[in-house]
């Protein structure tokens, strides 16, 4: 597996309802890591507006943008949990034994994991 790219962005932790109300420009990669936890990949920031929230710059993840062919060739053999059927979708779980996430769109996928685990994923995926 080639070396990953560091993913810069920011995290927003707020109530699920508050996060549901947020809107982002088309093409934004917004990963809902948990009902109350959002990771927005890319530059920018988020201004708190009344609702309680934790907003922090995030550089702790690395990722690999993959074509669907690369996804099938390198990754899916090592995923032993069902992928969501809809697109776009975020899926999370162990990939080759490493905690990782998949952002799946119709034409490509982002494989990401905490940078602390990147070496393990690099070594374990063909």
């Amino acid at each position: 597996m080639r070396a990953p790219d560091r993913l810069h962005g920011f995290r927003v932790v707020a109530s699920p309802q508050a996060l549901d109300r947020l809107t982002w420009p088309d093409g934004s990669v917004t990963l809902r890591l948990a009902p109350d936890d959002l990771f927005v990949v890319g530059p920018g920031t988020f201004a708190k507006a009344g609702e309680p929230a934790i907003v922090e710059q995030e550089a702790g993840f690395v990722g690999w943008w993959l074509t669907l062919e690369e996804l099938h060739e390198h990754v899916l053999e090592h995923v032993d949990w069902p992928l969501p059927a809809s697109r776009p979708a975020l899926a999370q779980g162990l990939i080759a034994g490493v905690p990782a996430k998949l952002w799946l769109t119709l034409d490509r996928a982002l494989l990401l994991c905490p940078a602390a685990y990147a070496h393990e994923l690099e070594a374990r995926l063909p």
């Binding site: 560091r6 810069h8 995290r11 932790v13 707020a14 109530s15 109350d36 936890d37 309680p52 929230a53 934790i54 922090e56 710059q57 995030e58 550089a59 702790g60 053999e77 995923v79 032993d80 069902p82 080759a96 034994g97 490493v98 905690p99 905490p114 940078a115 602390a116 685990y117 070496h119 393990e120 374990r124």
Partner: protein, 732 residues
């Protein structure tokens, strides 16, 4: 099956085979036996034909097509095959994962009927049949069906499984049943159809259709011969008859081939056809080998029964019958019959456990990975500095950089850097943040002012210490918490669980893997930090957000080493820059990094405990001598009730400081008093600063003595800290 005749190698000899032969058939055709003796079923049900094939032991040769490139070695007549290290690299076994609605195991009449029925109903169905090379070896929860295929392992998740694996033939249990020349009826038919000459053959029980043989009336008594069968003895109306022969064909009945369903209790698994049928048990055996795989005889069953193992599962465990190659396929009907003869009731078959077939370690581990260990963003920096890396708390961490005493001295005398990125780091915020932390911690969090921090224990409901760390207040409703490296994961679950349980409006963000942290420690630490922009260092237990070396940092003033220490939390992607910058500007100050070995020694001189190393699962603050970390005036916090209830009770356990002359004893050494072991050492270090050994250790007998013996030497109980007891250096 091979389409052409040829030869393969067995035990160093080239052995011919005919088109369509399995290895076992070719061996019998050559007048040999794959395992030197025992009834052959040639259906994969027993373990009487297993051999080493191409370096893999315990392979059923009756299911292995003969081919010219095979190398077969027979196992010894008794005992396991010799271990031979693999000649090649570990074999990679691919895993294919599929999902379906229904899996049918077995392609016989019943299996095909189940397949057709499911297809008519429009269900997504897959049929797996050993005859097609797909050998199902296990059914796990899910249900998930595990099968071995020529292309690797197949992991098939289904909503339902149908087991249609038919029935296996009963094998004989009597004296002589380990001789060569014994065949089940279906094995005889297969060999006859393949043109194998069976010699002078006789049949006992149900005859084998189409196989030339003499059918003998009566019941089987014993088989005679030396290595190979020479005669069979049958009995009818009390009269025994001895019949000379070269082959005995045994039609002794059938038993369900239901091992897969017996490992799938409470799963949606349906058994159909012969696998679900009820067959009469064979007569209770009176002599001979019952379980050829484990070498268990009737006398062994009698022995375990006499010792009180009077139930089928216990007989299995005590005798090992049913635990071998065939997983009870051969012996289970006989053992059930044997128990029925004693109790008057046939027991239900015993539970089966995966795998039902011998699989290699590579096949078993085909989808498994060793634990993933994290690296900090400074990992490469440590390696470049010559660090010996080791695994602690799920992370790779530097143990030392070649000279742990030099690292220790750098901390005590100059300045040193430690990578503490692995510490748990959390942001807690929200309207109920303070209320939450007041209930979470035994310390009074409300008295921590903004910009200040405090060391705190984390307790469970029983008042036992489960972790420790710092509470840093950043605003009225915002806190940064730290936890131990190994405890961060549990701490997060713990906090989320309680937030939900209490229904509080609290937001929680785990920053453990998003922020790096460097501990700058030593008497010249502040001087070093001034060079990278920290003009006004925070005082002890203060924390500030500042820009250092051009990057936003959260600097916490605390001390684990006993010297002035500044823990700098900073963006993970800038960590190498900060580390190198500090190392560069600190050269003239005598800076060097320190690893865990030095850190453990430094903190031990201060008497600081490491949770999990110095503590036990039921360690209370009192046992640690850390009652000062608990504020019982608070109306409520996790563990308060337990601590209040146990406060008045006598306690015979205490973690104490210990010192002794000379070198430190090994951690874990027993602590002796009056000839008895009364505890053990949890941490030890030969302090070059103090000139003696310092330790922490548990005393588990009250009254606690002042003098003990460790390593056959006198040791003294001494209250820590051993170094700088007034704490002046940490506050300097």
């Amino acid at each position: 099956m091979s389409a052409e005749a040829g030869r393969f190698v067995m035990d160093g000899q080239r052995l011919p085979y005919e088109p369509g032969d399995t290895v076992a058939m070719a061996v019998v055709r050559a007048g040999e036996h794959p395992l030197h003796g025992g009834t052959l079923c040639l259906a994969g049900d027993c373990g009487n034909c297993v051999a080493e094939v191409d370096g893999i032991a315990w392979v059923r040769t009756c299911l292995t097509p003969a081919s010219a490139d095979l190398e077969v070695r027979r196992h010894p007549a008794s005992g396991p095959p010799p271990w031979r290290p693999p000649a090649d690299e570990a074999r990679h076994v691919a895993v294919r994962r599929l999902e379906t609605d229904l899996v049918v195991v077995g392609g016989g009449e019943s299996g095909r009927a189940a397949l057709a029925e499911a297809e008519r109903a429009g269900r997504d169905v897959m049929l797996l049949d050993a005859g097609d090379g797909t050998e199902v070896v296990a059914i796990y929860a899910g249900p998930t069906v595990i099968a071995r295929t020529p292309a690797g392992m197949l992991h098939l998740r289904a909503k339902e499984v149908v087991v249609a694996t038919g029935a296996a033939e009963i094998q004989p249990v009597c004296p002589g049943n380990r001789l060569m020349g014994l065949l089940t009826a279906q094995a005889a038919q297969r060999l006859h159809a393949a043109g194998v000459d069976l010699g002078v053959a006789v049949a006992v029980g149900e005859p084998a259709d189409g196989v030339p043989c003499t059918a003998l009336p009566g019941e089987l008594v014993r088989i005679e011969g030396e290595g190979r069968v020479s005669a069979v003895v049958t009995a009818q109306d009390g009269n025994e008859t001895t019949t000379p022969c070269q082959t005995v064909i045994l039609g002794l009945g059938r038993a369900p081939r239901d091992v897969l369903s017996r490992m799938a209790n409470d799963l949606p698994v349906r058994v159909v056809g012969s696998a679900a049928a009820t067959f009469p048990l064979p007569p209770a055996p009176t002599a001979g080998i019952v379980c050829p795989c484990a070498g268990v005889g009737v006398d062994d069953l009698e022995g375990v029964w006499a010792r009180g193992f009077n139930e089928l599962e216990l007989v299995k465990r005590a005798s090992l019958a049913g635990t071998g190659t065939c997983q009870g396929s051969v012996c289970l009907p006989h053992v059930r019959a044997w128990i029925a003869a004693r109790t008057g009731q046939a027991p239900e078959p015993f539970t089966a456990r995966p795998a039902s077939r011998q699989i290699t370690l590579a096949e078993a581990a085909a989808d498994l990975h060793i634990d993933a260990f994290r690296r900090t963003s400074l990992h490469d920096e440590h390696v470049a500095l010559g660090a010996q890396m080791d695994r602690f708390g799920g992370w790779w961490r530097p143990w030392h950089y070649g000279d742990h005493l030099a690292e220790y001295r750098a901390v005590r005398e100059a300045v040193s850097l430690g990578d503490v990125s692995t510490l748990g780091k959390f942001v807690v915020s929200g309207p109920d943040a303070l209320a939450f932390l007041q209930r979470l911690y035994p310390t009074d969090v409300a008295t921590i002012r903004t910009g200040r921090s405090r060391y705190a224990l984390l307790l469970n409901e029983r008042g036992h210490v489960i972790d420790d760390g710092m509470i840093c207040r950043e605003a009225d409703d915002r806190f940064v918490l730290t936890f131990t490296t190994g405890g961060a994961g549990n701490a997060e679950m713990w906090m989320r669980d309680w937030i939900e349980t209490w229904g509080l409006r609290v937001l929680l963000l785990d920053r453990t893997m998003s922020l790096a942290a460097i501990n700058v420690t030593g008497p010249r630490a502040a001087e070093l930090l001034a060079r990278v922009g920290l003009a006004e260092p925070p005082r002890f237990l203060q924390h500030v957000h500042v820009e250092l070396a051009g990057m936003p940092c959260h600097v916490m003033r605390l001390s684990f080493t006993g010297e002035a220490s500044f823990e700098i939390h900073h963006p993970i992607d800038r960590s190498t820059d900060l580390w190198r910058g500090l190392m560069a500007v600190g050269k003239d100050l005598g800076i060097r990094p320190h690893g865990l070995q030095a850190l453990f020694a430094l903190r031990l001189e201060k008497g600081h405990v490491i949770i999990g190393m110095d503590t036990e699962l039921d360690t209370t603050p009192r046992r640690l001598g850390m009652d000062w970390a608990v504020n019982m005036d608070k109306p409520d916090f996790i563990g308060r009730e337990a601590l209040a209830r146990t406060a008045a009770l006598p306690d015979r356990r205490r973690l104490v400081g210990l010192t002794m002359a000379g070198a430190a004893p090994t951690e874990g050494s027993p602590i002796w008093s009056d000839g008895d072991v009364i505890g053990h050492v949890t941490s030890s270090f030969t302090s070059p600063t103090l000139g003696r050994a310092v330790m922490l250790g548990w005393l588990k007998r009250a009254p606690f003595p002042e003098q003990v013996e460790i390593d056959r030497r006198p040791a003294h109980v001494a209250a820590p800290p051993f170094y700088d007891p007034e704490g002046l250096r940490a506050r300097a």
